[in-house]
Amino acid sequence: MKPAEVVNEVKASGLRGRGGAGFPTGVKWSFMPPVDERQRFIVCNADESEPGSFKDRYILEDDPHQLIEGMIIGGYAIGATIGIIYIRGEYWQGYERLLQAVKDAREAGYLGKNLFDSGFDFDIILHRGAGAYICGEETSLMNSFEGLRANPRLKPPFPAQAGVYGLPTTINNVTSLTSAVHIINKGADWFSAMGTDDSKGTKLYQISGPVAKPGVYEMPMGSSFRELIYDLAGGPTEEVKAFIPGGSSTPMLPFDDEHLDTPMDYGSIAKKGSMLGTGGVILIPKQKCIVNATWNLVRFYAHESCGKCTPCREGISGWMTKMYQKLVQGLGAEGDLDLLDNMAQNIKGKAFCPLADACLGPVQSSLKYFRDEYEYLVEHGAPMYTRDSWWQE
């Protein structure tokens, strides 16, 4: 196959980026400028830091060769001779196994110069992150790889024009690249036969929280939450009031029939006011105070804010955490909820990168669906549900 044919095959398969945004992978590959003398890179974003997501970890630890194969295919398609895997620093086991896998692949001749006399050179650089959520944002990842401060860069220029070291670069998620392996092996038709109209193929869904069998499950796109939660994960182990459909940055949804029967694809979840994201489903038990649960997420985003732009640095990192702390301590006053709501509106859509909006997902949705719990907390100074931990009875 010629590189252009690989790109077309992936385009035809309808594969959409599995990292969260869902941009068609083939289209992204076709954005690369025509081949010239410049070095080109393919980067694998294995900096999986979203709370509730752990699909990449399974691949990195249990099937690293699939990722290497995907990198080679991607590199071949876009004409990149260097692949960079930016792996989350905390994934030590995954890193060690991937390191060994790269070594094995090099010895077996899958990586190196002139692979199998095809005239195609390809090698992989492994780079461990130092534990920043922002590095999952592609331009921050590139900065971090270059040894700079992990701040998001201005787009345009997009990575295809000026990426790593200002050179043409494509960045894909781990599972986008591993999906490409099967698309090339079995054909675009095989892949696109699965899933729904706007979301083709299969996807790794993750489920965590109070379910019988939490873990990673591969299902065709468009399967419903009910199938995942009840049929595969064995159902909730206690009463659940809400679930986060796709990693902590997606707005939570109430745990009711209407939302459980939503197909897990990009379009259907968007219609319900949330996002598919990484497909990391988190169940929130009824006995857990929703304000406390949201505070947990807000603290995470406040800690991970890079500090570049005002709304995220001052709004989320500076103000919103303090507001939640005040609420959770039972010190909330009348008007605080309106202020919180207004503050969220002032941040929404005005920050430099999507990280600020990611924090607003759980905040705004919990305010929307569980305002009664917030109001109860403000009124009584104590939460409606009092369980501290998710896991203890």
Binding site: C309, T310, R313
Partner: protein, 736 residues
């Protein structure tokens, strides 16, 4: 391309940023992170506007029309856009006046202010603070933030010259970007992340020659010039536009003086010369002006001691003495930073006295007016091959900066109706630099070599040999090939390849420039060789003279009429009378003959170069840091009427206090009378603010002399649309 800003149609070039479109239309948006001549980054998120553009149908290629009006339909972006990082598009519509934009801006202003200490009453930036102005114009007037503000270091000495207040910092990143983008010295960065982010250095101090500029561009009072801290409020200063005399560049500056005393020098804007930047020597090296031992009155030696005299007395005395002098017995010499007027005066005096002993000093051996085509600084900044001989970082620091600008490969921006574009989208953070176009030659390692593609180290004093080698190579052999004498090159420590590369680089470039300073000017032969090299390669020439007006004084021919009449021979005692301006021939010169001792001036004026100044400031840490006015030490310049004698000072203080007390009592009485006559229905507590009109805040750009804006009082708001501004929203006018 056509762009509509708040209903005003503009025709702008592609690549213009939306924020410049807004300002070009005479409207205003707040901004903190954008800065002229630097890359826009979109970090402060203040310049939000509602932006939309028409779209073309993908199939037909026609504009999608609105069904009702038949005009191209405007598709608005779902969220307000940061205009500084948005490029204009054909038919773009920008709205900065609607309710939602106002809310977005005031909401963002609230975020900016929550951790700002609002210590304006004690802040040196007060009155010239962008945050203060913008908060007044676009803020809500109140804050809903009820928690403790962030507490960080208030007086962090970034270097001996710059103090950082980390609480005031609003993280606009101007200073951090400045160091990377303009001088290329990466000495400052953000440390930590999120709400804990602060500005800091990895090591002690700011090892750069251009650090003071960050105090000018800081939009708040976070970065302050330590030498002028707590010395005055901005409205007390007299801002005088001036030109720096520290080197041959002649940067625009603004001199801020309070009660007749120079307290600080800030950079001015000259788009042809220094853009917005000045070096630290020019900024901080002004203290000699207020030196204690500076002459203030004429002194005449009477009976062996110098006595103060009036100007009339002094001129009469000089005239008397000069009348007795014969031809060529009087020498006249000026320092080479004298003005043209001084030079004309000196020349006519010399003509009157009929003496050829006239000179300026320092004056190099070779002419500072180069042969060949002279390059301007803007031509240097757009050049595609630059050959530098000497240490320009020390001789003319701004030339060094403009050379670094050329490495970015972005031509100086075209001026817009509001001046220099605020957000030039061609500039990016951490741009790749075209180092290969720069070659630096010097006998030792100079700072500019860190940025050069090629460096040449030749033996000290061998400029002529090095240049002649290059000239021979450039002139080529009979076939027109580059001709290198490998043996000569090896003697100089150069390789033949290096020589070929430089010569070919200069010859092939379209706008090559050869820049040289004192090393070449010290020898006529070297200067001639440089001219020959320029001729052989088709390059332009920039010669950097030793002082601010070397060029002008040479043009006015303030030169000795014959070779024995120069300044050096005047000092050797060939004259009976010596008229000097700005020059110090006294002790320190080895050959100081007895005749000169009689001529020795009453007191030596202290002339400090910026290097002296820096060494003077470098004290052991913690020791004597606050040796300046207002910190328990006596004023450096005694007040004029103060006389030595018992009890006089105390008496003056008592008189002053009594006077002040009387004034205060009178003011109180006035205030009480006014208060008693107030209308009875006046609301208690809430004072109505005077409504601020656009016209009062600043003059439009067109009314500012020369179209240039004084920093610190720049007309950010060009004030063209008072009506539009008045209805800008309740946040600005209804605040009480």
């Amino acid at each position: 391309m056509k762009v509509v800003v708040n209903g005003i149609e503009l025709d702008l070039k592609p690549g213009t940023s939306a924020i410049d479109a807004v300002f070009a239309a005479g409207h205003d948006v707040p901004y903190f992170c954008s800065q002229e001549y630097m890359s826009p980054i979109g970090a402060c998120r203040l310049c939000l506007a509602k932006v939309g553009a028409p779209r073309k149908d993908r199939d037909t290629g026609e504009w999608i029309k609105d069904d009702e009006t038949g005009e191209p339909k405007i598709f608005y972006f779902p969220n307000p856009m940061a205009t500084c990082t948005t490029a204009v598009m054909e038919g773009m519509v920008i709205d900065t006046l609607s309710k939602e934009v106002q809310q977005a801006q005031s909401g963002m202003m609230e975020f900016t202010l929550i951790n700002h200490p609002l210590d304006c009453p004690v802040c040196d930036k007060g009155g010239a603070c962008e945050l203060q102005d913008r908060a007044y114009e676009y803020g809500q007037g109140t804050s809903r933030f009820q928690f403790d503000k962030r507490h960080q270091e208030k007086h962090h000495a970034l270097s001996d010259l710059i103090t950082l207040d980390r609480e005031r910092c609003i993280h606009c990143k101007r200073c951090v970007r400045y160091f990377e983008e303009i001088p290329g010295d990466e000495v400052l960065d953000f440390i930590e992340r999120g709400g804990h982010t602060y500005i800091g250095t990895l090591e002690e101090g700011l090892p750069s020659n251009f650090t003071g500029n960050i105090t000018d561009m800081c939009p708040v009072g976070a970065l302050l010039d330590t030498t002028s801290r707590f010395r005055g409020r901005n409205w007390e200063y007299d801002h005088t536009r001036s030109t720096c005399l520290d080197c041959a560049v002649g940067c625009a500056t603004t001199v801020d003086a309070r009660t007749g005393r120079i307290e600080r020098v800030k950079s001015g804007r000259n788009t042809q010369i220094n853009n917005d930047w000045i070096c630290d020597g020019g900024r901080f090296g002004h203290e000699y002006v207020g030196a204690d031992d500076r002459l203030e009155t004429p002194l005449i030696r009477k009976n062996g001691s110098l006595e103060p005299a009036s100007w009339d007395e002094a001129t009469a005395f000089i005239a008397d003495k000069l009348k007795t002098m014969g031809q060529h017995e009087v020498g006249i010499a000026l320092r080479a930073d004298a003005t043209l007027e001084e030079a004309i005066g000196a020349t006519s005096l010399a003509d009157q006295l009929n003496t050829g002993q006239r000179d300026h000093y320092p004056r190099p051996a070779a002419s500072v007016i180069p042969q060949g085509t002279q390059a301007t600084l803007n031509q240097v900044a757009t050049s595609d091959a630059i050959f530098v001989i000497g240490d320009l970082t020390e001789e003319a620091p701004i030339v060094d900066l403009r050379i670094k600008e050329a490495l970015k490969g972005v031509a100086p921006p075209e001026l817009m109706p509001h001046g220099v574009p605020i957000a030039d989208l061609r500039l990016k953070e951490r741009m790749p630099r075209k180092r290969e176009i720069l070659t630096v030659a010097a006998p030792y390692h100079v700072d500019l070599m860190n940025h050069a593609g090629q460096t040449l180290h030749y033996g000290a004093g061998r400029e002529v040999d090095m240049l002649s080698l290059l000239v021979t190579a450039a002139q080529g052999d009979a076939d027109g090939n580059v001709n290198v004498d490998a043996q000569k090159a090896a003697e100089l420590g150069l390789s033949a390849e290096q020589v070929v590369e430089i010569v070919v680089g200069l010859q092939q470039a379209e706008n090559a420039v050869i820049v040289y300073g004192g090393f070449v000017l010290a020898s006529k032969h070297a200067a001639n060789a440089a001219a020959a090299l320029a001729k052989a390669t088709g390059a332009k020439v920039m010669a950097v003279g030793p002082m601010a007006n070397s060029y002008g004084l040479e043009h006015l021919a303030l030169l000795p009429s014959q070779s024995g009449f120069g300044y050096a021979s005047m000092l050797r005692g060939d004259v009976k009378a010596l008229i000097l301006s700005g020059l110090d021939p006294g002790p320190g010169r080895r050959r100081s003959p007895s005749t000169l001792r009689e001529l020795e001036p009453a007191r030596r004026p202290r002339q400090l170069s910026h290097r002296d100044h820096r060494t003077r400031r470098r004290r052991p840490p913690g020791q004597n840091r606050l040796r300046k006015r207002g910190h328990g030490h006596e004023p450096r310049r005694p007040l004029p009427e103060r006389q030595a004698g018992p009890g006089r000072c105390g008496q003056r203080r008592r008189l002053y206090r009594r006077d002040q007390g009387a004034r205060r009592r009178a003011r109180r009485a006035d205030g009480r009378a006014e208060y008693a006559q107030r209308p009875p229905e006046a609301p208690q507590g809430a004072r109505p603010r005077p409504e601020r009109t656009a016209g009062r805040r600043a003059a439009p750009a067109s009314q500012v002399p020369g179209g240039q804006h004084l920093r610190g009082q720049r007309p950010r708001h060009t004030g063209g649309q008072p009506a539009a501004r008045a209805e800008h929203g309740p946040g600005r006018t209804d605040r009480a």
